[in-house]
């Protein structure tokens, strides 16, 4: 387990209320965005295969707020939140989900392949752990060129079972590259609970860092301030040339694995309880002691942004069929 110093304790208040309010707004934007995605999918408007991260917003906002514009990241199948939090306008993401040329990947990627090089999004990946080796390489490039930038990989607890995870962290640590590996541990890999897929207890996944002698930093993934502070510490460590960090964040997936997932495998009561006690927006709202009016005004604001994103997306341009061949080679 990480030492106490390495933990960004939930109680340690270091972030101003103003900043926390900004976090709240962004997390609510992500929440409303994804709720809209679910709604539009059910309405039959969105093609493809969609995964939302409802319940995990504090991870996206906390980590990405700790990054600079020139820092880069790779995401997963559950990428909307990370992408919004790193600075891609919601409308460009929505346009991507609608398959429009105005989308952040020009309509070529879809939900599982959101890219935006202008803000350092090197691409979401539909192959579990598929983005990790590339992050090692990006960090290596920064190291070789002496650039003060970090490369960040998001991935889930399920991903820690892959050989790709192991090889990536191993190489990163060997070469001490400035990479941060963000383990977004929601205790599920699709329908498979921690106990069926992880040989370690779900809360002890940080032990995986020991296999590489890698710096471990852990925080409560539902507490955006803790996540933010932990990510700042991780970035500092990496930029100081001390090597990569495994940033272990325990979080909760408060919805299905994919949009439309009936979750037959999941205990209803437990889910209900998690929704009541683990929702990062509720937790932050309570902490900020937001009045109903405050909340309503933020909500109206982000809801309008999401609606505008849908309008933008729907008004977008469909690619021409033969544009499929446009980017096979550079």
């Amino acid at each position: 387990m990480a030492t106490v110093e390495e933990r960004a304790e939930p109680g340690r208040k270091k972030v101003s209320e103003e900043v926390l309010r900004d976090f709240f707004r962004e997390m609510l934007l992500i929440r409303r965005f994804e709720e809209k995605v679910e709604e539009r999918f059910r309405a039959g408007e969105l093609p493809g295969f969609l995964h939302v991260a409802i319940g995990q917003e504090a991870v996206a906002t906390g980590v990405c707020s700790a990054l600079a514009l020139e820092d880069v990241f790779a995401s997963t199948h559950r990428a909307h939140g990370h992408s919004i939090a790193k600075g891609t306008p919601a409308k460009k993401i929505m346009a991507e989900l609608y398959g429009k040329t105005e989308g952040c990947s020009g309509g070529y990627g879809g939900s599982m392949h959101l890219y935006d090089l202008s803000v350092g999004n090197l691409g979401a990946n539909a192959v579990v752990a598929g983005g990790l080796p590339g992050i090692v390489g990006a960090a290596l490039a920064f190291q070789m060129r002496g650039e003060k930038r970090v490369a960040v990989a998001f991935f889930g607890d399920g991903a820690t079972n892959t050989g790709t995870f192991h090889e990536s962290l191993n190489l990163a640590q060997l070469w001490r590259v400035p990479a941060i590996f963000v383990l977004e541990n929601n205790g599920w890999a699709e329908s498979t609970p921690a106990v069926q897929q992880l040989p370690l207890p779900v809360d002890q996944m940080g032990k995986r860092a020991a296999a590489f002698g890698m710096k471990l930093i852990e925080a409560d993934g539902q507490d955006v301030e803790a996540v933010y502070l932990a990510a700042l510490a991780a970035r500092e460590h990496a930029l100081a040339g001390k090597g990569p960090v495994l940033l272990h964040l325990r979080t909760f997936r408060l919805t299905g694995h994919f949009v439309g997932d009936p979750q037959v495998y999941r205990d209803r009561d437990e889910l209900k309880q998690e929704r009541e006690t683990k929702d990062p927006l509720r937790l932050l709202g309570a902490r900020l002691d937001l009045s109903d009016g405050d909340f309503a005004s933020v909500d109206a604001d982000v809801t309008a942004e999401v609606e505008a994103a849908v309008e933008f997306a729907k008004a977008g341009t469909d690619p021409k069929p033969e544009d499929a061949l446009k980017y096979v080679y550079a």
Partner: protein, 326 residues
């Protein structure tokens, strides 16, 4: 004859094989409580329990590799790789281990392993969830390769794959799971290595696999309205290949189109074309036309996706092109 969906037919073969032999077991990601990401294994956990219906961690190399190890010890494991795109993660075990143990050991070892997987475009999954990679495995001595296109075939072939003493890579096509078809009331194993003539014809042979079997049958019906008589053959087993039936058909019709959803360049259609031009050279009245996906990673936007992968229309055009040659 009862009717089953393709999905039910796979499930039925699995269930019957599990009942028939306690050495049979199933493992893969999310195949237990959830019944697999394609709902194929639904209900198996309840009947056979968690020892024989095993959820695995996300580790395709270990899934295939542990299947190999169990198979060598006399089990008949059936492993599921959720999307065939993820076969890329287990190539080492498939190609260097499963395929080679028998030869490398001088015949001491048998690997009665079945690797079920599925893929296919048509639902906008993007570039990493819809590849068709069967051609790679046809290049690997020691493997057998099956790609089934109907409920009857998928049930009879899967049974044979499970009871074959060699590693068999068994491809299913995602868009075929809901299709219905008649099946014999008792499961009839279909021997590996036998093609199926879906439709007899005299002017052109279409050799098609997977989803393209159905597109080709549609194209054949269209062509018939123009007075073109099309024979549609599904190899079903890609390795070993039933060259006799395929070449025999083309010798009869003198024209040939190959059709699959995989990228045409370097695809299984190339192997077919190479075999057919050799075996039916003196009979051929037109160059063999290959139909397959256009040369691009599959784009997300539906308009581009639909354009990249082939449908009945492309098969029909190819049929017409071959017939236009005198």
């Amino acid at each position: 004859m009862p009717e089953l969906t393709y999905r039910e037919a796979v499930r039925d073969a699995l269930a019957q094989a599990l009942r028939a032999d306690e050495n049979v077991f199933v493992m893969g990601e999310d195949i237990a409580e959830m019944g697999g990401s394609m709902a194929v294994t639904q209900g198996l956990l309840e009947e056979f329990g968690p020892t024989r219906i095993r959820n695995t961690p996300i580790s395709e190399m270990a899934i295939v590799g542990s299947g190999i190890g169990a198979a060598i010890q006399g089990m008949r494991p059936i492993v599921e790789i959720m999307y065939e795109d993820f076969l890329t993660l287990s190539m080492e075990q498939l190609v260097n281990q499963a395929a080679k143990h028998r030869t490398m050991s001088g015949g001491q070892v048998k690997v009665p392993l079945t690797i079920r997987t599925q893929g296919g475009a048509g639902w906008s999954p993007g570039a990493q969830h819809a590849q068709q990679l069967e051609a790679w495995f046809v290049h690997v001595p020691g493997l057998k390769v099956v790609f089934a296109s109907t409920p009857q075939d998928v049930r009879g072939l899967l049974w044979s794959a499970i009871y074959d003493d060699n590693p068999v890579i068994f491809f299913e096509h995602r868009t075929l799971y809901p299709i219905k078809g008649e099946v014999p009331s008792e499961l009839e194993p279909i021997p590996l290595g036998e093609a199926r003539v879906h439709r007899e014809g005299t002017d052109v042979t279409v050799v098609a696999t997977g989803r393209l079997v159905h597109e080709s049958l549609r194209a054949a019906e269209e062509a018939e309205r123009d007075g073109i008589s099309v024979e549609v053959v599904d190899p079903r087993t890609l390795l070993p290949l039933d060259e006799d039936t395929i070449v025999g058909s083309v010798r009869k019709t003198t024209r040939c189109v190959t059709a699959h959803e995989a990228v045409a360049r370097g695809g299984f259609g190339s192997e077919l074309a190479a075999v057919i031009q050799h075996g039916a050279f003196d009979w051929l009245d037109a160059p063999i036309e290959r139909i397959g996906a256009k040369f691009a990673p599959l784009p997300f936007a539906p308009a581009m996706e639909q354009w990249v992968v082939p449908h009945a229309a492309e098969v029909l055009e190819a049929i017409r092109r071959t017939v236009a040659r005198s």
